[in-house]
């Protein structure tokens, strides 16, 4: 597979080493195999996209990788380290940050407090330290300014608009300083202008060396943003490659259009 990014070239292009891999990942709910022996490779330093029709198992796959659900079988590795079935906070500590499909924030905490939740704590002593210390607050304000909602820091998170909550969620994930960021439908339910803004942020963060894995239905966003696309159907990948190749693949067209 080629490493040329079709659109946008800020990313350093030479590396195609695997960042996040699954082998034979399987998860059933009752009789339904939501994820069915999925072998997927996401590349370090790239913007990877995961697409597929509704019910194809994308979110279950996502949850298995991030530890929210324990897979029945199979293996997940991050940079060669086995992280299969580890609890979510360990996976977060290993360097994977994630957002949720329907944006999830802490509604009755202020915007700033939302930011201060996600701090990697190296020791018990560190955890007992004050949450409102200067360093963390400075970092939180910097990130809030970056996503453009710093003027709302003392509002309760439930009082800001949905688009702003999406930005808050992204900024909150960045507080943990993840190498790999997994976004579940970042463009869902937000207006086109904000989609553009989120896309720009993803591109900037990627240029700083962060790997992205994005589940998304918005094809414009996927095709213009991503370097590598994996197409899911019935719990496993049916095609992968650069967006220009994938969008003309007959299997993909069949899965999406049923022709």
């Amino acid at each position: 597979m080629t490493s040329t990014a079709p659109v946008g070239g800020a990313t350093a292009t030479a590396t195609t080493e695997p960042s996040l891999e699954t082998r034979g990942l399987t998860k059933s709910f009752g009789g339904v195999r939501a994820v069915d022996g999925a072998d997927v490779t996401f590349h370090r330093g790239k913007i990877n996209a995961l697409i597929g029709p509704n019910g194809s198992g994308k979110t279950t796959f996502f949850n298995c990788v991030t530890g929210m659900i324990k897979p029945d079988s199979g293996k997940v590795t991050l940079g060669g380290n086995d992280i299969t079935g580890k609890p979510p906070h360990r996976i977060a500590a290993a360097g994977i940050g994630r957002s949720f499909q329907l944006c999830r924030i802490f509604p009755r905490l202020t915007v700033l407090e939302n930011m201060l939740v996600g701090v990697r704590s190296p020791s018990v002593l560190h955890r007992m330290g004050g949450a409102r210390n200067g360093d963390d607050i400075a970092k939180a304000r910097e990130l809030l300014r970056r996503v453009g909602i710093d003027h709302l820091e003392s509002s309760e998170a439930r009082d800001i608009s949905y688009g702003q909550q999406k930005l808050l969620e992204l900024a909150g994930v960045l507080m943990v300083d993840p190498d790999t960021i997994m976004l579940d439908e970042p463009a869902g339910g937000v207006n086109p202008a904000l989609i553009g803004r989120i896309g720009t942020l993803v591109r900037e963060l990627n240029a700083e060396g962060r790997t992205f894995v994005i589940v998304e239905h918005n094809m414009d966003m996927v095709m213009s943003l991503s370097d590598h696309v994996v197409v899911f159907d019935r719990g496993r990948p049916i095609a992968e490659g650069p967006p220009s190749v994938v969008q003309n693949d007959p299997r993909v067209l069949e899965a999406y259009l049923g022709v």
């Binding site: 659109v7 977060a92 999830r104 905490l109 407090e113 939740v117 453009g148 003392s154 240029a207």
Partner: protein
């Protein structure tokens, strides 16, 4: 010690507001802080002179009962207030603490105060496996699991007569000896309970400020999300659960030492556990002083209704009505309602994000223009021309508050 109503007070937004507003805002906050300190001093002084002002030993004993309720409610609120796990079964820990204290004195011949702390530590150790098992479930399931433990312990305490005295109850020796008379004992226990409450509040306050506390509050708001952000939710919940069990057990032990008699029906009752929940809800369980205020209101009402309606169960009906009224009109509790009222008097409304001034908006948009331009060589998917203006509009104007989901 800051008042409970300021739990969400952040530092003022850096340089966001025009100078005049900042000045007025800080003056209002200074006045507010002064008022809080004055209130604290007055209430503190009233509490300290209460035993001298109490007309007779009965009034004094009511004071001890209320202080005991406050001790239980504040201990309960370590779990309930921070994590939102509502335990209706905390009477298990106060009851166990009471029995452990009594048995350490009568069977092991320990000093009463050593027995008290020993009882607390024993319950804290027991709380580890109980917490590991019960904190796996959330919401209504957790409530039911918590009740189950009380019922089991009630049966054990009633049946194991050789150890607990069974339904006959258990007599607890008076810690100050027989030559200290009742009123004197009431007075000492009143101060001991107050000291206990102050220590528990200080710890609650310290946790509230820590990263640990922020993690706990995140668990209350959205546990999965907190874990995805790296909060070790299991360990955090268990830690605060054990802290809560320890304090509840010591509060139960204090009650045993003061009252001098333990009856299993009263010690392991759902009602006592419910009182802890109701007092915290009434005062405001996310506030530092909420459970204390709730304990004063509930404790006083209970004694008042008991005096007026005698031995009937009517005091429970009256209490139920009181709670229904508070829940209807102040769903978050009394203190948050008062806090909201005070916020209305604020000249510049810090919470209102709808009232961004024109200058604020202008400055904000200017900053957006400068700060987040796209890097060289990358195209914005949605087109950066007209799109950018829309983006700014979306970010800077704030629609009226919408209900979530």
């Amino acid at each position: 010690m800051p008042s409970a109503s300021d739990t969400t007070t952040g530092a003022a937004p850096a340089g966001a507001a025009p100078g005049g507003a900042t000045e007025r805002r800080s003056r209002f906050d200074t006045t507010l802080l002064g008022g809080k300190i004055a209130l604290l001093v007055v209430v503190g002084a009233l509490v300290l002179v209460f035993p001298q002002m109490a007309a007779d030993p009965f009034i004094l004993s009511v004071g001890v009962v209320i202080a005991s309720y406050a001790a239980l409610a504040v201990s309960w609120n370590f779990v309930g207030g921070f994590t939102g796990y509502i335990s209706l079964g905390h009477a298990a820990y106060s009851g166990l603490g009471g029995y452990a204290t009594a048995l350490f004195i009568t069977r092991a011949d320990l000093n009463p105060w050593v027995a008290l702390i020993g009882g607390g530590l024993l319950v804290a150790v027991l709380a580890v496996p109980i917490g590991i098992a019960s904190l796996r479930v959330r919401g209504a399931s957790f409530v039911i699991v918590s009740i189950a433990l009380v019922l089991i312990l009630l049966l054990v305490a009633q049946s194991w007569a050789s150890l607990t005295g069974g339904a006959q109850g258990l007599r607890v020796p008076r810690p100050f000896g027989e030559d200290v008379l009742r009123p004197e004992q009431h007075e000492r226990f009143f101060y001991i309970h107050v000291a206990f409450v102050v220590v528990a509040l200080a710890l609650w306050w310290a946790i509230d400020r820590s990263r640990f506390g922020m993690g706990l509050k995140a668990i209350r708001e959205d546990e999965d999300k907190a874990q995805a952000l790296g909060v070790p939710t299991g360990g955090y919940k268990l830690t605060v659960f054990v802290i809560s069990a320890f304090f509840t057990a010591v509060a139960g032990g204090l009650y045993a030492l003061w009252f001098g008699y333990l009856d299993p029906i009263f010690q392991f009752s759902i009602l006592i556990g419910s009182y802890m929940v109701l007092m915290s809800l009434l005062g405001g369980l996310r506030s530092l002083m909420g459970p204390v205020l709730g304990a004063v209101v509930v404790g006083y009402s209970l004694e008042f209704f008991k005096v007026h309606y005698g031995d009937s169960q009517f005091h429970l009906v009256a209490l139920g009505l009181l709670l229904a009224l508070v829940v209807l009109f102040m769903p978050d509790g009394i203190l948050p309602a008062v806090g909201a009222l005070v916020d209305r008097l604020r000249p510049e409304k810090r919470t209102s994000i709808r009232e961004m001034t024109a200058e604020d908006l202008l400055e904000h948009n200017r900053r957006l223009d400068g700060g987040t331009g796209t890097p060289e060589g990358t195209a914005t998917p949605a087109g950066s021309g007209p799109g950018a203006t829309d983006a700014e509009r979306d970010l800077a104007t704030v629609p009226p508050r919408e209900e979530q989901r």
